[in-house]
């Protein structure tokens, strides 16, 4: 059992090894012109962020002109204003609860459904289920948003719980697609050995399969996290109580009040972007490889 497990481990490992080997080649003969060009182009990413930071530190009468200059006098209280105006602690907590809830539930449930489907693909019912779920990839959200908003309101799910549920359910289509592809690459001998040892299907899934899904769990977790944290449309149409608003939604709701106070608005934008940006800075490699794995599968 353990040998087979390490086998799948090396499969993933081999793919990961490829990159460092190529990097070694960059050692001699670095193309400095290309490096410089790419650094200059990277400024297009940095400029809007730099702009947001300097604007968030200005007083309103320092605005005007192109606005790229550094603030003459730094006004930190813009952040305090934004904090109070958007009720940042509550809003950020809403976003966090929804994101964490969506990620955890998605990982626990979607992988299990994918497992049941992947191991029974030759049964007509499960094969049908697979195509039923995956076909939803072709149904864009704007098409169902009107009825869903109505439905969640009737079911009293026009709140954070409902939103988590919708992320979990709407993620199914894509997640089942990539989970089943991955599960198909796990040899069944493992499960048979566990079954002979008397393990139930549930125990086999949680003890044997779920740990082996770690790379795919990372991918699905990252994608779900980015989606739920940054999503605007679903909270906009589902949430009815202003107290459960998420970070992007609250920026939209407060636009009219921000209109006269740009520095506070920009402070608010920065605070909305900061949490995920900070996570990204520390988990960069992991996030990028996770996202890549999701798209290339």
């Amino acid at each position: 059992m353990s040998t087979a497990a390490s086998e799948t481990g090396t499969l993933a490992g081999r793919a990961a090894e490829r990159r460092p080997r190529r990097q070694r080649r960059t050692g001699p003969g670095v193309n400095w012109w290309l490096t410089a060009l790419l650094i200059v182009l990277a400024l297009t990413i940095a400029i809007p962020l730099y702009f947001a930071v300097v604007t968030a530190l200005k007083t309103t009468d320092q605005l005007g002109g192109t606005g790229f200059g550094l603030p003459g006098e730094v006004r930190w209280s813009n952040f305090a204003d934004a904090w109070r105006l958007t009720d940042f602690p509550t809003t950020a907590l809403n976003s966090a609860v929804i994101t964490v809830g969506a990620v955890v539930l998605t990982l626990l449930t979607n992988s299990m459904v994918a497992y049941a489907i992947a191991r029974n693909m030759k049964r007509r019912l499960f094969k049908g289920l697979y195509f039923y779920f995956v076909s939803a990839l072709f149904v864009p959200f704007p098409i169902i948003m009107l009825p869903v908003a109505k439905e969640t309101a009737i079911l009293n799910l026009d709140n954070r719980v409902g939103l988590i549920l919708l992320y979990v359910v709407y993620g199914l289509a894509f997640n089942i697609f990539i989970f089943t592809a991955y599960i198909n690459s796990i040899p069944q001998a493992l499960e048979e050995a566990a079954a002979i040892d008397g393990a139930s299907t549930w125990a086999i899934f949680w003890r044997v399969i779920f740990p082996l899904l770690a790379p795919m769990n990372a991918t699905v977790g990252i994608l779900t996290c980015l989606w739920a944290w940054n999503d605007f449309l679903l909270p906009l149409v589902i949430l009815s109580d202003p107290g459960s608003a998420t970070l992007p939604l609250v920026q939209y709701v407060f636009q009219s009040q921000f209109q006269t106070n740009y520095p506070a608005a920009f402070a608010s934008y920065l605070m909305a972007m900061a949490p995920l940006l900070i996570v990204y800075v520390f988990a960069q490699r992991w996030v990028i490889s996770g996202v890549t794995r999701g798209a290339v599968k």
Binding site: G29, P147, N230
Partner: protein, 312 residues
């Protein structure tokens, strides 16, 4: 490739072995599997399938979104095709989607090739280029909104460029450019990473051989790089187009659909008309048409790109 086939083969063997197992165990296993999928099936049916069916049902009514509704047959669908606001939204969405899809793929492929070259700070640069993907489009959009409506005109005035001295966002004829810029800025991040993953699958030996034959850089790109990453090109083209056809956040942040209804996308029109304009039934019909359009586009695009993949 070979590992893949080996894997499926071994999986198939495993499955065959399973079928020979005593039937009693087979039944017990299946029982647990049914319980695993049942809740997901029910929830999916309630929150996805029912809304789809409901949407189709409402598309044949004059429902304003509340209260009683009358069955009006195909009247909504007929009206859609003569409604200038709807036709404009489709035209505007297609324009943005087409331009943004092409631009984003050119830009990302170019940057990915650069990042794959012999450069310094490879990982750092890759990390920076990916940043837009972790930011909310709406929030970034508000920053761009300020840049387009205040900073850029000020800059234009300073440099004496008349075309830039008024905000791009005040006219539909220029606002689409701003929307495309935001769209490209935001989604290039994702596309670059995918192209980079693709470029890393191209064996360097091929370039070495091409260099020996004296092939130019462009020639190498056309004859080696592009054919080798054709599959990644297909993924990116299909995903970008599908995403941009549903464009919503970008427009809310930049123009809100204005001036008037000049920059409304189809998704924004469905939202506005359905939730605020009392056109629930009518916009449901619009959704059904939109669904057909998107599926149609995806299928055609996949067919064309797949055929190209085979040819090259």
């Amino acid at each position: 490739m070979t590992t893949q086939t080996e894997r499926t083969e071994s999986a198939a063997k495993g499955r065959a072995g399973h079928a020979e197992a005593p039937s009693k165990r087979g039944v017990r296993l299946a029982g647990a599997f049914y319980i695993m999928v049942l809740p997901a099936f029910l929830l999916f049916f309630i929150f996805h399938t029912i809304p789809v069916l409901q949407g189709v049902y409402y598309s044949f009514t004059d429902s304003p979104g509340y209260g009683p509704a009358n069955f009006v047959g195909l009247r909504n669908y007929i009206a859609l095709f003569t409604d200038p606001r709807v036709l404009h939204a489709y035209w505007f969405t297609f324009l943005i989607a087409a331009v943004a899809t092409i631009l984003v793929n050119i830009v990302s492929l170019a940057i990915a090739i650069g990042l794959n070259g012999r450069i310094k700070f490879k990982n750092g640069l890759r990390g920076i280029y990916f940043i837009p993907n972790v930011l909310a489009i709406l929030v970034v959009g508000y920053i761009f909104n300020y840049l387009f409506s205040n900073s850029l005109p000020a800059l234009g005035e300073k440099l004496g460029i008349d075309a830039l001295s008024t905000s791009l966002l005040t006219k539909a004829s220029t606002a689409w450019i701003a929307i495309v810029i935001l769209a490209v800025w935001q989604s290039a991040a994702f596309n670059i990473i995918i192209y980079l993953a693709g470029l890393q699958t191209v064996p360097t030996e091929m370039y070495e051989a091409a260099n020996l034959d004296g092939a130019s850089a462009w020639r190498q790109f056309r004859s080696i790089t592009f054919p080798m990453i054709a599959g990644f090109f297909t993924i990116n083209m299909v995903l970008s187009l599908k995403g941009f056809l549903q464009i919503f956040d970008h427009i809310v942040a930049l123009t809100g659909g204005g001036p008037g209804t000049d920059t409304e996308s189809v998704a924004l029109l469905i939202y506005k008309g359905g939730f605020q304009g009392g056109e629930y039934g009518y916009q449901s019909a619009n959704s059904v048409i939109f669904f057909i359009v998107i599926v149609g586009f995806s299928i055609v695009q996949l067919r064309v790109l797949r055929r190209r993949e085979v040819e090259v």
